[in-house]
Amino acid sequence: MRAPAALPWLLLAPALLATVVLVFAPAADTLWLSLHNVVLFRPRVRPFVGLANYAAMLEDAEFWAGLGRSLLWVVAGVGLQFLLGFAAALLLNRQFGWRTLARALIIVPWALPSVIIGLVWTWMLDFNLGLINEIGLRLGLLAVPVPWLSQPATAMAAVILAIVWQGFPFFAVTLLAGLQAIPPEHYEAAAIDGAGRVAAFRHVTLPGLAPVIATALLLRMIWVANSLDLILVMTGGGPGTSTQTLPLYAFLRAWSGADYGYGSALAVVLTLLLLGVVVAYAVRSAR
């Protein structure tokens, strides 16, 4: 089947055009802005400052603190999602009567908008009327109600709890699909070789699941690292700056601080860090 050489380009043109205008051009623009000193109240005067915005980051304690919080947010958030989702996938792969129903319902948190997730957990963790404090008090786990979202020591844990709740169903359903794709013969062969349950898990389940795990972890990591709406809704980065991750800091610096140049530089650094992770993944999976 021969197609005219121009046909693929004709078909791709609308999607490409939208992507260039709305993604690549703005990204290049942000890169350009990051080399300037741009302040909201005098947008026409934007002196070129080279890498000064990036140099300023080295001295900026809030940048390093935000980077550290982002690291905690991604490692704890994605790590816990993965462990809980993996456990759920292994359980849902077993035989039991209401399996179909359980497989369908586990997805609910993943379908909800971040604003609703923020709302659900702000309500669960409410000081006066929240279910968590009430149950904690009734069971004797808490002596007094805890203001979860308004004290620095617990606010980060609270937003991580919310992101874990939102994301673990993603791992549950993708890893479940991966488990179902492992041919049963592999388990039969392992059983013939005298492998117990633990050995079968190590030598059949884990290797069979590895590509799915790697892809799912990468997708979620990028998503969680970039996401700032959940934290914005629940704490706005506070109390103080105790839940202010790197993307949120970039966002607040650019908008509330009206410091576009510096905010852009922060966004560029975040993008480069993620790019590094993606390249490392691509290089590893190409080997």
Partner: protein, 274 residues
């Protein structure tokens, strides 16, 4: 004995995980059905004496929420149609045609997913302002459609890959032009895939917050932005807020349960094969 082991080893842990997944959401739904007086009572009553729709009715009658839902619906419908119009031809080209740069272009679309919204939002804001498109349906529709393109193209390409190429060849031998082929052969066979991708586009647009906040918000105010502004008001009215949360979550949850199999299959297809 065996039965007991199954209950303790499987049913109970599954029930615990499901409780974690569903209880916070059910607690919100239940809270929205409580009478006003329950919110002034301390300690919290786990189960209300009576259930009422008063919060939902007040929300729709006395606030802008019905209008916000209309805005969200218009934006989501626009994002679905625009997204499908952009992604279907691209997916067809990736699946059926071989051309130089095909691989690089496929990767290019995936890279789009990687850009943080903070990296793009300011120039987008300026661009739309210069064209006087800020705070319009168009701004949100084109924004949502573009940011969902990578996944939409990926899903649709794998659906079209699943349609046997022999059908194309048979139609070509019968003298069909490529356009006829696309409309008469591929389109009907890809319909289930289009429905799944359409549902994905709808949920993604309906749930989106940051674009809707930054690029619109005054004339065009979607439900997520409206709900967030309710939280910000000096006196948090939990009855209205949980009613709003319940109503906003409903379409996404129902559609997701409906399309779950196809979406998950499409999402994991590449990874499982890889």
């Amino acid at each position: 004995m065996r039965r007991l082991r199954r209950i303790l080893g499987t049913d109970l842990p599954v029930a615990a995980i499901l409780a974690f997944a569903l209880l916070p959401w059910l607690w919100m739904v239940l809270s929205s059905l409580r009478p006003e007086s329950d919110y002034a009572r301390y300690p919290v009553r786990l189960l209300p004496d009576t259930l009422t729709l008063a919060n939902h009715i007040e929300l729709l009658a006395r606030t802008s929420f019905a209008q916000n839902m209309r805005d969200s619906l218009i934006v989501a419908a626009g994002a679905v149609s625009t997204g499908l119009l952009l992604s279907l031809p691209a997916a067809y080209a990736f699946s059926r045609l071989r051309f130089p740069g095909r691989r690089a272009l496929r990767v290019q679309f995936l890279v789009v997913n990687m850009f943080p919204v903070v990296m793009l939002i300011l120039p987008l804001f300026v661009l739309l302002r210069d064209f006087r498109l800020l705070d319009t349906y168009f701004a949100l529709i084109i924004g949502h459609a573009t940011f969902t393109l990578p996944f939409a193209i990926w899903l649709l390409t794998s659906y079209i890959d699943g349609i046997p190429a022999e059908l194309d060849e048979a139609a070509m031998i019968d003298g069909a032009t490529r356009l006829q082929l696309m409309i008469r052969v591929v389109l009907p066979l890809a319909a289930p895939g289009l429905v799944a991708v359409g549902i994905y586009l709808f949920i993604a647009s309906w749930n989106e917050y940051l674009f809707a906040l930054m690029l619109a918000g005054r004339n065009v105010r979607t439900v997520t932005v409206a709900l967030q502004s309710f939280i910000g008001e000096n006196q948090v009215h939990w009855g209205l807020l949980t009613a709003g949360g319940t109503l906003v979550a409903l379409p996404a949850v129902v559609l997701f349960l409906f399309a779950q199999k196809r979406l998950v299959g499409g999402l994991t297809g590449g990874a499982v094969k890889g």
